[in-house]
């Protein structure tokens, strides 16, 4: 008995007294990045998930890239370009001396092959090409011409996407021509990017190594190797970061950042993205087919309290276009929490005491929706409205919104842009022709004036005129209130303090500019 007590006492003393061991440190030339989502595949023509973007950004390049700080499209594999007056012809002057990882030369033929491959496979992100591209011509080795079916001003910004627009080696495509290279590119990446894929151990990590012949060269401080480690649990990821076993942690929810912020070895940054969280209201059936009821619900939502769901890192959204994109207008009016006004509108609509139940769904993979619903439930009860909160998986969510009769009354969801332009939001979400399954207009609202303006915004080249069009669309939407617009979804990127050079790009928020980064 005495011996047992002695053993227990020693163990307790050991556990409480033992100092935390000094942290591990990773080699300076290797960056370890923890992510929660693994790519399902690495084919730039097919994959349409967030997990692949870190790999795409390191291994593939596009004709052009986007810089959110300037709001401009910038050269990447295309050194310059011209757009015809009618907006139908895009001529790209390509950068000479660029090599693919397998030694093939980058040229106009490679661009044509890559995009035609994507359009022939015709899966996932290919819609961004098939909807607009009529043909692609090789003018000469370093000039490629893309002819559009109809003008679309944001087309250049479409080409900045990592989904569908990364250019793989034509040599690799030719070597696997029997299935258009689908089996090969599923697990291989052969691009022109600064890093080449060395190893992908499923469920564990992806290793990238410096591509010595990268066209930008390696003049400054750079990383030799990147290890993207799959860490499914965010608590575990935080521990790995604290112990120095990873250098960057991506995917830790903003509500779990406080312990990391207290650690002097770790830098925590929370960034705004172009992803928005909102609630779609089903406008096809009573009572939400009455604009006054929708406006009342918009006034019943406590926007400021809802920011607590994101640990206070965000602000209520103004308009429907997030900050940083052309068309964002901080002077636009917005709905505020005003139960009296809500009551007034409900009374006008014939519901002075509420007296109805609405089903509110939230998606398992977007957990903020649950807390948002719970917060809203109480306010609605004050108006005599019962909110029935239902969780749905992403599969169930899509199933339900695909048909008007099964679309829930209220659906909380996130929308992430495909390309950095307001039309990546307005077109799929608010154009009358884009109700599911064609698009994502879950509220199924169609205002002919809004439809017309959205179409006009697609062809208007004058930026000032375009801004006015976008402003008018947003005002109309505010009045029609098919959605409740809540906020942009923040993302936290935590890194060890010896990691430098990272620049957050909201258009590619799940990825990193590895080429510019280094450790000391």
């Amino acid at each position: 008995m005495k011996f047992s007590l002695l053993v227990v006492g020693c163990l307790a003393a050991l556990l409480t007294a033992i100092p935390r061991l000094t942290t591990a440190s990773t080699p300076l030339e290797t960056l370890f990045v923890g992510v929660t989502e693994e790519p399902t595949m690495l084919d730039p023509a097919i994959d349409y998930t967030f997990g692949s973007v870190p790999v795409f950004r390191a291994t593939y390049e596009r004709l052009v890239t986007y810089n959110s700080r300037t709001g401009m499209v910038e050269p990447e594999l295309a050194a310059s370009w011209e757009i015809s007056e009618d907006g139908l012809v895009y001529t790209f002057y390509l950068r000479p001396g660029v090599k693919f990882h397998d030694g093939a030369t980058f040229d106009a033929y490679a661009v044509k092959t890559a995009y035609e491959r994507a359009m022939t496979i015709n899966e996932g992100p290919a819609w961004m090409l098939t909807t607009y591209v009529k043909s692609i011509d090789v003018v000469d080795d370093l000039i490629v011409r893309i002819n559009l079916q109809h003008p679309f001003v944001p087309f250049l910004r479409i080409l900045t996407s990592y989904w569908g627009m990364g250019i793989p080696s034509p040599k690799a495509i030719a070597e696997h021509v029997e299935d258009l290279g689908k089996a090969f590119f599923r697990e291989h990446a052969v691009g022109t990017g600064p890093y080449k894929l060395v190893e992908w151990v499923k469920g564990q990590y992806i290793m990238l190594e410096r591509f010595e012949d990268y066209w930008r060269g390696w003049p400054e401080k750079h990383l030799d190797r990147i290890v993207i480690q799959i860490v499914r649990d965010t608590t575990t990821m935080a521990m790995l970061l604290e112990r120095g076993e990873i250098d960057i942690a991506y995917g830790i929810p903003v509500a779990e950042l406080e312990p990391l912020k207290a650690n002097p070895e770790i830098v925590v940054n929370v960034y705004d993205t172009y992803t928005t969280n909102m609630i779609a209201m089903n406008t096809t059936r009573p009572p939400l087919n009455d604009v006054r009821v929708r406006q009342a619900l918009s006034y019943s939502f406590d926007y400021d309290s809802a920011m607590e769901v994101f640990a206070g890192y965000t602000k209520p959204l103004v308009g429907q276009i997030p900050p940083g994109l052309l068309g964002y207008d901080p002077t636009l009016p917005r709905y505020v929490f005003d139960l009296d006004r809500a009551r007034e509108l409900l009374a006008q609509a014939g519901y002075p005491h509420g007296g109805f139940t609405l089903e509110y769904t939230w998606v398992t993979e977007e957990p903020e929706g649950r807390r948002i619903g719970i917060l809203w439930q109480e306010a609605l009860r004050n108006l005599g409205i019962e909110l029935k909160i239902t969780e749905v998986t992403v599969a169930g969510h899509w199933d339900r919104i695909s048909h008007p009769e099964t679309t829930p009354d209220l659906a909380n969801y996130r929308w992430c842009i495909d390309f950095p332009d307001a039309l990546s939001i307005l077109l799929p979400l608010y154009h009358g022709d884009y109700a599911p399954p064609v698009g994502y207009n879950i509220s199924r609202w169609s205002n002919p004036r809004i439809n017309e303006l959205i179409d006009k915004a697609g062809i208007e080249r004058d930026e000032e005129v375009r801004k006015q069009i976008l402003r008018e669309i947003q005002l109309l939407l505010l009045n029609d209130a098919p959605n409740i617009w809540i906020t942009t979804v923040p993302v936290a990127i935590c890194m060890r303090k010896n990691v430098h050079g990272f620049v957050f790009e909201p258009a590619y928020f799940s990825s990193f500019n590895f080429y510019d980064m280094y450790k000391d």
């Binding site: 061991l21 899966e123 599923r186 749905v392």
Partner: protein, 322 residues
């Protein structure tokens, strides 16, 4: 066995069609255009009549082809070969811990019945059964990785230590290739997840062992063995244990099945690339082919385990004959 497999596959095939969600849409991407979704649907054969899809599937299974995963776009067989060994390895080590710890603890508890040791072990067993495996996993990571830094928190093996692929069971592959550095790394990586997975089963096995042994120790032949002057250890280990093991063996058999299917939370916490997580993702994405593949695999595994347990009964108790 074949009839069982056919029955299970048929039921699963039609039941999985009832799951909400359009797999072609989910695989193409929520933002994909309708044309792209239909293109994928056609290429995956999901536009064919259900009966035709069923016949094609069963025919291909008989040829050893489990179809293409809608989500990963790889052959389901390749996915199972990729992920199943990780779960098998984890489960084997968890079972190893269950037997290594559960049986001796049960014996110890039985022979020290109603002492402080027995009470402490009972409380520990209740705690182990009550604790969710993912929570225990996080706790183990906190103590052994974060604080003490002596065991890794994630993965199957350290970077650069992966053994040459032979079976996919890293420990076995390390031994076969005599890669002792890899073996050491694999065992270190197994320690925490196997412990988290096994804890509840250790508790259950130890309690079953305890009660089973106590029951056997009350029998006449045990009293006779003691009366003959045999040492207590001989009485327990040579005479009583063998009979007491029978019900415990049943529990161990059941635990293998539970551990195999209950590994998902542990796989998530430790980023263990096993079949559990693959199965969950397949269900979330309504990946019919993968769901069927995993179901087929688990049916074969469970049937095999039942067979082994039945055979072991006969080994332990010669009176049992088939």
């Amino acid at each position: 066995m074949v009839i069982t497999l056919l029955g299970v596959l048929t039921i699963t095939f039609f039941l999985s069609r009832v799951l909400p969600g359009d797999p072609a849409r989910l695989a193409a991407g929520i933002r994909a255009g309708p044309e792209q979704v239909e293109s994928l649907r056609r290429s995956l054969g999901l536009d064919r009549p259900l009966a035709e899809q069923y016949v094609r599937y069963i025919t291909s299974v008989m040829r050893g082809d489990l179809g293409m995963s809608i989500r990963t776009r790889r052959p389901v067989m390749a996915d199972l070969v990729e992920y199943f060994p990780a779960t098998v390895e984890l489960t084997i080590f968890a079972i190893f811990l269950c037997i290594l710890l559960g049986i001796p603890l049960g014996i110890f508890s039985a022979v020290r019945q109603e002492t402080l040791v027995d009470h402490v072990l009972r409380v520990a067993a209740v705690a182990a059964v009550s604790m969710p495996s993912f929570w225990l996993g996080l706790l183990l990571q906190l103590v052994f990785f974060r604080w003490l830094g002596i065991l890794p928190a994630t993965g199957r093996v350290g970077l650069g230590f992966r053994p040459t692929h032979i079976t996919g069971l890293y420990v076995l592959d390390s031994i076969i290739t005599q890669n002792w550095a890899a073996l050491g790394s694999c065992l270190k990586h197994l320690a925490l997840p196997a412990t988290a997975l096994a804890a509840s089963s250790v508790a259950q096995i130890s309690r079953m062992m305890r009660s089973s042994l106590l029951e056997v120790l009350s029998h006449d032949y045990v009293r006779t063995a003691r009366a003959k002057g045999l040492k207590e250890s001989a009485v327990i280990l040579k005479h009583a244990l063998r009979n007491a093991l029978l019900p415990t063996l049943t529990i161990i058999g059941l635990q293998i099945g539970i551990l195999l299917s209950g590994a998902v939370p542990v796989e998530v916490v430790f980023s263990w690339p096993g079949i559990g997580l693959y199965a969950v993702q397949s269900i979330v994405f309504v990946d019919f082919m993968a769901i069927l593949g995993v179901t087929l695999l688990m049916t074969i595994v469970y049937s095999g385990i039942n067979l082994i347990v039945d055979v072991l009964y006969g080994v332990l108790d010669p009176r049992i004959q088939y």
